[in-house]
C-alpha cells in the first residue's frame, strides 16, 4: 500500500484535482496510519489560524513611497513640463509670445492627458482619498476586467 502522507498538505490546502482527492479519500478510509497523520496535520493547519492576522493595518506608506519615487525624480507625472517651462523662459527672453500662457485653466497632468481609456484618472483623486475607498478601486464605466487579483 502506497501511503499518501506526502500529499496531505496539498490535500488540506485544497490544491489537488478531484481525481487525486478521491484517491486520497479512498486511501484514508483504508489506512489507519495515514488517518492519524492526516488528523495531526489538520490540527497543525488549524493552529496556524492563531497567527493569521498579524495586527492592525499600519499607516499608509504612500507618502514615503511617493517621496522616494515620483517626488525624488521631479515631476514624473508631467514629463513635458520642464521643457515647456524652459521654452517659455526662452520665448520671454526672445520676445516671442506664447499661446495659452498666462492665466487660464489649471494645467492638466499626463494622467488627464491620457484621454479615452484612461479618462477615469483625474488629478484630484488623491486629494479625495481617505484610504480604503481609494484602495478598493474606483469604478470604471466601460471596463470589464476583474481587478487583477485584488
Amino acid at each position: 500500500m502506497n501511503h499518501v502522507t506526502s500529499k496531505l498538505a496539498a490535500y488540506l490546502a485544497g490544491e489537488l484535482s478531484a481525481q487525486e482527492r478521491d484517491s486520497i479519500d479512498r486511501h484514508l478510509r483504508a489506512c489507519a496510519a495515514c488517518r492519524r497523520e492526516f488528523a495531526a496535520q489538520s490540527e497543525t493547519w488549524a493552529l496556524l489560524e492563531a497567527v493569521a492576522e498579524p495586527g492592525q493595518p499600519g499607516r499608509s506608506v504612500w507618502p514615503a513611497v511617493r517621496a522616494r519615487t515620483i517626488g525624488a525624480s521631479g515631476a514624473r507625472g508631467r514629463p513635458a513640463l520642464g521643457w515647456a517651462a524652459a521654452a517659455l523662459v526662452a520665448g520671454m527672453i526672445l520676445g516671442v509670445s506664447w499661446p495659452g500662457a498666462g492665466p487660464g485653466p489649471a494645467e492638466t497632468t499626463t494622467v488627464d492627458q491620457a484621454a479615452g481609456e484612461d479618462s477615469w484618472l483625474q488629478s484630484s483623486w488623491l486629494e479625495r482619498d481617505t484610504g480604503d475607498d481609494l484602495a478598493s478601486g474606483w469604478l470604471l464605466a466601460g471596463r470589464t476586467d476583474d481587478g487583477g487579483g485584488s
Binding site: A40, E43, L47, W125, W138, R143, G149
Partner: protein, 189 residues
C-alpha cells in the same frame, strides 16, 4: 447595453505607472500595501522591518514598472519582490535567524470574557510563533504565501520563481517541522 463597471485592473494601473503617472501609482500602493505589510510581518517577525521593506517593495515596483509583463499575475510579481527583499534581510541577520516576535497578539478589546480562554489563546499564539521561527526562509515564504496570503500553489510558484512540486514539498516539509515543534512544546498531541 450599458457598459459594465468594475475595478481598474492591476495590469492597467501598471501600464500607467510605467508612464510615470502618480495617481495610478498611488492607487496601486494603497490597494496592496496592507497585504505586502502583513506578508512581511509574517516573514520577518518585526513590524518595523516589515514597514521599511513595504516601502522598499513599492519603490522597486516603480523602478521595475517598465519591465512588468501584464499577464494578470501582478500579486505574485509584487510578492516576489517583497519575498526577495525579506530573504535578503534575513540573510543579513546571520546570527539571529528570527527576531522573537508575537504575531497575532494585538489590541483586541473584548476579545473574550473568559481570562482563562484568553490566556490559553495567548499561549497558543506564542507557541505557533516559536514554531514558525524554526522554518527555513523558503519554507516559511511558501507557507505564508499560501496559508496567510491566500495564494494558490501555482501563484506561490510564480511568486517564488520555482516549480509547483517544489512548492508542494516546501509546504509539506514546513507543516512537518511545525508539527514537531508544536509537539515538543506540548501544544499538539
Amino acid at each position: 447595453m450599458p457598459a459594465v463597471a468594475g475595478p481598474i485592473s492591476d495590469d492597467s494601473l501598471m501600464a500607467s505607472v510605467a508612464r510615470g503617472e502618480e495617481a495610478a501609482f498611488g492607487l496601486l500602493v494603497r490597494r496592496w500595501e496592507h497585504q505586502v505589510r502583513a506578508f512581511l510581518i509574517h516573514m520577518l517577525g518585526s513590524v518595523e522591518e516589515a514597514e521599511d521593506l513595504t516601502q522598499d517593495t513599492f519603490v522597486k515596483v516603480f523602478a521595475q514598472a517598465r519591465t512588468y509583463r501584464p499577464e494578470g499575475m501582478f500579486q505574485s510579481w509584487l510578492l516576489r519582490i517583497a519575498g526577495n527583499l525579506a530573504r535578503s534581510r534575513l540573510r543579513r541577520r546571520k546570527v539571529v535567524r528570527w527576531l522573537p516576535f508575537d504575531i497575532g497578539r494585538h489590541d483586541r478589546p473584548g476579545a473574550g470574557p473568559d481570562p482563562h480562554q484568553e490566556l490559553e489563546a495567548d499561549q497558543t499564539r506564542a507557541a505557533v510563533n516559536r514554531a514558525l521561527a524554526h522554518l527555513a526562509p523558503r519554507q516559511r515564504q511558501a507557507l505564508v504565501l499560501h496559508r496567510f496570503q491566500g495564494l494558490s500553489y501555482k501563484e506561490v510558484a510564480v511568486a517564488m520563481d520555482t516549480s509547483l512540486p517544489a512548492v508542494e514539498s516546501l509546504i509539506q516539509r514546513a507543516l512537518a517541522i511545525l508539527r514537531a515543534e508544536l509537539k515538543s512544546q506540548g501544544v499538539e498531541r
